[in-house]
Symmetry: C2
DNA sequence: TAATTAAAAGATATTTTTGTCTTTTATTGT
DNA sequence: ACAATAAAAGACAAAAATATCTTTTAATTA
């Protein structure tokens, strides 16, 4: 198992790809997205469909249709994607599985784990969906393989 | 979904409980362990069985039998448990699911993610299985609920 | 040796995740 | 209106994670 679920990995890669392609209002088809991020086509379809319902990405049907992200969406944090898919427990929960993470009734890892989890949250909240557009277009960063 | 899998959460809690009880060579039955860490009995059985095969914990059958951890085992890092259960990918892999995490062909999150992953590794490697025994016995730390 | 105990091992079941395929709906262009 | 396009939605399937129950094996005690 990876750090995030497959669903979340595909979502992060797909959203960043769509973001990098939709700066000028362009739309990308799901086939292209699946191809560029190396993910199963129809499975990705379901994922993007859900993100679309959440308003994290936009889509239109028909010719010239496809997925895109509006300017406001490009400014949203990656945390929104992770929370939409993994749920809040992933970013707030106890590392050892206690039903509540608390300073008052801590698990053995609480202090150390909380610090790491806080850093993860910080990263996911400070990083925006559109932040890597330039480097993705330049090809300095990769989303497949 | 939590940060670690259920299997890993149960394993961490169970191993720490066994550790805290086996400082003086005492053994604990699976029923007691499952009860004290609030986990499904037979599922935990399978998990401990695997950890036993890996040599991370010890067990004996029959009356007065049960699970325990030898002095050397108490000094092993938590990383051994996590790796035994989640696999190496969890602690080494790319956060966005690329098949290799590398500086040369990085995903957008590489720099930030690597730092967090490094900290997680540091914690799991520096923390030993027996490290919390005293506080667990004192009841300052919890392993259930 | 026989009975008892407790983990190991095996079989089976349920749920969730991951993946594929088909049909429907909405949009566009002719 | 009609045909073409592309996402939405639904049905289905495979694999993995999670969970339960039963049988077997090994150790202890009487
Ligand atoms: S109680 Fe476990 S991480 Fe806070
Ligand atoms: S390449 Fe993605 S974390 Fe290193």
């Amino acid at each position: 198992m990876g750090f995030f679920s497959k669903t979340c990995e595909y979502a992060l890669r797909a959203v960043m790809y769509i973001a990098s392609q939709s700066s000028d209002g362009k739309k990308v088809g799901i086939k292209e997205v699946a191809d560029k991020i190396n993910s199963p086509l129809h499975f990705l379809g379901k994922i993007l469909q859900n993100l679309s319902k959440e308003g994290l990405i936009q889509s239109t049907k028909g010719p010239q249709g496809g997925f895109y992200i509006n300017p406001d969406g490009l400014k949203r944090p990656l945390a929104d994607i992770v929370i939409a898919i993994e749920g809040t427990q992933f970013l707030n929960g106890c590392g050892m599985g206690l039903s509540y993470c608390s300073q008052e009734n801590p698990c053995p890892l609480h202090d150390d784990f909380k610090e790491i989890r806080d850093r993860l949250n910080l990263m996911l909240h400070k990083t925006t969906i559109g932040q890597f557009n330039d480097k993705l277009i330049q090809g300095v960063l990769t989303l497949n393989k």
